[in-house]
Structures are given as C-alpha cells and as structure tokens.
Amino acid sequence: MSNVVRAVRTSGTGGMSTWARAARRRAGQLPLHAVIITISLLWMTPTVGLLVSSFRPRDAVRSTGWWTVFVNPFDFTQYTLENYAAVLTAQGMGRAFLNSLIIAVPSTLIPIALAALAAYAFAWMEFPGRQTLFAIVVGLLVVPLQMTLIPILRLYNQLGLSGTFLGIWLAHTGYGLPFAVYLLRNFFGALPRELFESAFLDGASWFTAFTRLALPLSVPALASLAIFQFLWVWNDLLVALIYLGGTEQVAPLTVRLSTLVNSLGQNWELLTAAAFVSMALPLALFFSLQRYFVRGILAGSVKG
C-alpha cells in the first residue's frame, strides 16, 4: 500500500517522469524483495514438507525424502489419500474432535472474560495497590508452565479435578490470564479518557461504561486474543495429557493423535496427515477472524 501512496504523491510533483522514478525505485527495492521472498520460502519449507509427506504412501515416506516428488511433480501416482483416510477413520477420532472443542471453547472464553474485567479495572479504576497488583500479574508471565504441573496435579487429585473438563478449563484459564490481562490493560488504557468521562456524565456506571464502551471498542484486541488463546489450547498436548489423561472420554485431538503413533508402532507418516486434520479448524477460525486479527495487531500503535 505504501508503494501506491508514494506513487500517488510523486505523480503530483511533475517534472521528471514519474515512470522513470517508479522504475528506479522498484529496482532499488529488488534486493529487499529477494531477501524477503527467500526468508518466506525457508520459513515455509517444513510445512510444505509436511504437507507433501502427508500425501505420500508409507513406503515412499520411509525410503525417500519428500522433496523427491518434485522430480516429477505431476506424476499423480506418487500421491495417496491413504494417510488421511487412516487418520479420519481411526477409532475415537470424532469423540476426540468433540473433546477438543469442549476444552478449547470455554478455555478461550473464560480467561478472556475474566481478563477483560481485570484489565478494565487495572486501566481505569483507582484502588489501592493497583500498580503492585498489575506488576504481580505481569510478573506471572515469566513463571514456566512446566513448573506448575506437579503441584497443580497433586492439588487436582485431592480435589477430584484431574481428568475433568472443569479442571482443564481452570488450568488453561490460569495459564492464559496473565498475558490476556496484560494485553487488554494496555489496550483499554489507550482508549481516550474523555470517552469514559463523557459516559459518566451521561449517567453510566463503571459497569455500563465497560459493557457499552470498553468492550465494543476493544473488539480487535479481544478477537486477536481469542485467536491466540484458542490456538494455544487447541494445539496443546502437554497440559491436556497431564490433567486429563488419555482416556477416550476426555482426550482431545492432540492426545488422540499422539497415541496413534504409539499404538500403531512407527506409523509416523500418519502424523503428517493428522497435523493437517487438526489444523483445519484453527485455520478456518483464523481466516474468518483475520479482519480483526490484523487490525488487532495494529491496535494501540496507531490511534484511530
């Protein structure tokens, strides 16, 4: 877009040919573009490899590298849907997908709802110890997740929460809250003070100002946070494995897929297909919320 803007600007100046200028500028940017494209390709290589492998038969995967398909890329006999068929028809897949949803949706909504309330208070309401409390919340960001696994699991065992959805919702809420509070506080804090003052003069309470002003104005931040949290929970294996275990009733997709390999020996080519199966929903979510996602990243940096 900046290219367009610049081109429009220069076209107004007249004098020297704008085409010559544009061409020279493009030539000047060539090395930059080359570097960017190279990095992008390098970055994508593992994913492309995974995708290609997922369509290759077991024997081919075992014997040659995925890049060998590029010798004859249009020889379609070297591709197969076997892996996908195997993954999708594997026992308990439907239940696992459902479990993943049951885990991921509340584990996204609960921390964001709590974080929004907390962040609003941290940003706008004055109460003693506000700064200290906020510093502690931000400080929690540095606590490694792994450190908490054993103590919390022991606590869960005592409370009878291990192996329950409630337990994992609480766990993900706890792990997600510090970052969510931090991000939202900064976003709320950047909203103009006059808006709230105006609302108070209009008769709004703190809570009304929160629901009618702060929340609607923070949709970009909330949406991007929701995507991050959902992706993290959806892709999580460790937390689910620890607190839920592998029983079919509760195990999410990630746990189910990982047992696929173990239970069937060394069928790791199935994992490549499984990765893309489990990616489907997050991708759909990402693209449907992309509008907010991109805006959300810009949000706060550019006031507008």
Partner: protein, 367 residues
C-alpha cells in the same frame, strides 16, 4: 435556579496548586467564559464543576446544594469536550440518545428530543452516520447535540472550538451564542482565546496560575483591567507597558518613561497624587496611539516622537512597531499613514486612556 458558586475552592495535584482559593458566582442563565493561558487552571475549574476532579478544599454549589460529593451524573450538567469524545462505535443518533437511554427516558421522548436537537443544530440528515464519517464541524455539532438533549441546568464547554478551522470557528461562535439565548441555561465556557471570550461572554473570568484575576463584563475588563496581567491578556495586539515615574507637581503631573513624557490629565492626576515621585507602570493600548495626520477629533491628544522599526498593513489598519528611548511598543494607526522603516514619526497619544499600575504588585492604580 442554576447558579454555580465557588466558595474558597482549592485544587491541588500533589504539591502543585492548580486552583487557589477561588471565590466566584456564575449567575443563573449567564454565559460565563473562563479564560487564561494554558495551565492557568481554567479546565480544572470546569472539571471540578462537572465532578471529574475532586475539590481539595472549599465548596462548589450548583443551585442550592453543595455538589462536592455528588457524582457527575447526578449534577444535572452536560459537558462538551475539546476532543468531542463521541462514542466511535455508535451512530450520531445513538450518541445523542445514550445518556437518555441510561436515564430510562421513554423511547418516544428520546426520539423527540434527539430530533429536536438535531434540527436546532442542522444535523438531521446525519443521524445514521458514525462519527468517523463526519467532518470536524459536524462532530462538534453532535457533541453539542449530545449535551442539548439532556436538557441540563448547566452547560460546560471545554474549548469546543479549538479543533475547528478559523472560518468555521467564527461561524460556530455565533451559533453557540444563539444556542445560549435559545436554551436559556447557564453556560460555562473555557477557552484560551480572548476573542472568543470577548465576543461570547456575558462575563469573563480571567485566571492565571490558578488565581482569579478579574471577573467582569468584557467591556469593563477591556476598559478597566484590574492588573497588568488582565490588561496584557485582553486586547490584541496587547497593551504596551512602560516603566515610568510620576514627576512634576500635583497640579502639573507628568508620567516620564525616559523615552517620552506625557502630561497626566487632571482627573487622573487627582486620583494618583500619593504616587507622585514614585515609579509606576504606564499602560497604553495600541489603538490609543494615533498618527498625527489621522488623529480622531475630540480626544485629549499629546504628541510623542518615535522611530518606526517595522510596519504591518492589515488592510483596515496599520501597525507601527516603534522605538522611543529604550522602549519598544506598538501603535495601531490609520492604514493611510505610511512610514518607511527607520523614519521618525509623530504620534498622538490619547492620554485620557492611560492606565497606571503598581510595579510591585502589578495591581491597577488607575484604570
């Protein structure tokens, strides 16, 4: 009745005193302008009336109750912010209706008031738009509309024109004056622009460093400033000040600046006899210094000589930046009176208009 009264009001931010022992009364239905340079405490004063800032000491009355501890929404006031503070995600209609909805006003009543306010402001065709699709002037009207629909007892306006371009500002200025007349409520208006203050106000309160300098009608403020600050702040170009001494006798008194000497008219001399022989500050407005050839009749003119440094023609008037002795000052003369730079010109001073100030306290001795 919606008069607003300040009783020994102080506002401190930590150690900084923003408003110092403010005592004043804004009368019912009055258009009062708070004016002063930035940081003088005028916005803080307004925000204290609104309830957005707490009063550190003293009492604020709205009508017959002390509002110190009354929350903003229960003070029966409406405020227009400098940034307009429109709700960006709501349509113009909803922006105006928001406060009424929160107050549980019946729906048809809300509709009636919003449409009426929109009609007064000429924004009926914009009701469905979002604020981002409006120009600055339109946003400003919506902000006014949001205040009008509330039908408050007191209107507070915090520099509502400062984000508009010059032409629109002049136009909106007149409209706000009309609006005040039409609504018949108390308006308290904050600005740093003395032209806005002079043109719109019933009375002006001049503030500086958190201290009320003078509270009076625009004309009295201009003609009888209480101190050097007010004299210099009101009027453009601002008043010329000269360090001077009162010399001569009671019957024939002169004010001597070193660069020139003026005979003090008898009326003024009688009022300042005790200052004879002492140092004073002489104040002369540029418009009271005329070119000799274009001096209006019937004024008590005395001639001084000064050298023109720079001159500016503004079409309807000409400004001479002149030097006399070690004093630089400005004269606003007839546009036909031309002079070249470096030329010495004869100027007539209307000495009846001279102001005298105490150099110690800067308070007016005679104004």
């Amino acid at each position: 009745m919606a008069n607003v009264r300040f009783e020994h009001v102080w506002k401190r931010f930590g150690k900084v005193v923003a408003v110092r022992d403010l005592n004043m009364e804004v009368k019912d239905k009055e258009f009062l302008v708070l004016v002063g340079p930035s940081g003088c405490g005028k916005s803080t004063t307004l925000r204290m009336i609104a309830g957005l800032e707490e009063v550190s000491e003293g009492n604020i009355w709205i009508g017959d109750r002390i509002v110190n501890d009354v929350p903003p929404k229960d003070r029966d006031i409406a405020m227009v912010f400098q940034s307009y503070a429109l709700y960006p995600h709501m349509s113009v209609y909803d922006n105006m209706a928001f406060g009424l909805k929160l107050r549980k006003v019946p729906k048809d009543e809300i509709d009636r008031r919003v449409r009426e306010a929109a009609k007064i402001l000429g924004i009926e065709n914009l009701l469905d738009r979002k604020p981002r699709a409006l120009s600055g002037g339109q946003r400003q009207r919506v902000a006014l509309g949001r205040a009008i629909v509330r039908e408050p007892q007191v209107f507070l306006l915090d520099e509502p024109l400062s984000n508009l371009d010059a032409k629109l500002r002049v136009q909106t200025r007149a409209e706000i004056t009309k609006l005040h007349r039409r609504l018949g409520t108390t308006f308290i208006y904050v600005t740093h622009d003395q032209v806005e203050a002079m043109t719109m106000a019933d009375r002006i309160a001049v503030l500086n460093n958190g201290v009320l300098q003078q509270l009076d009608t625009p004309q009295n403020l201009y003609e009888h400033p209480a101190n050097v600050f007010v004299a210099g702040f009101i009027g453009s170009p601002s008043m010329n000040f000269f360090n001077a001494t009162l010399t001569g006798t009671k019957e024939e008194m002169y004010v001597d600046t070193g660069g020139f000497r003026l005979r003090v008219p008898t009326k003024i001399a009688n009022a300042v006899t005790q200052w004879l022989g002492k140092e004073v500050i002489l104040g002369l407005r540029p418009e009271h210094i005329h070119h000799v050839e274009f001096t209006p009749p019937n004024i008590n003119a005395q001639r001084i000589m000064a050298q023109v440094d720079v001159q500016e023609l503004l079409g309807n008037e000409r400004l001479f930046y002149v030097v006399a002795g070690n004093h630089n000052f400005v004269a606003r003369v007839d546009p036909r009176a031309s002079a070249t730079a470096g030329e010495t010109v004869a100027l007539n001073v209307d000495v009846d208009q001279m102001k005298l100030f105490d150099p110690e306290t800067e308070e007016a001795i005679y104004s």
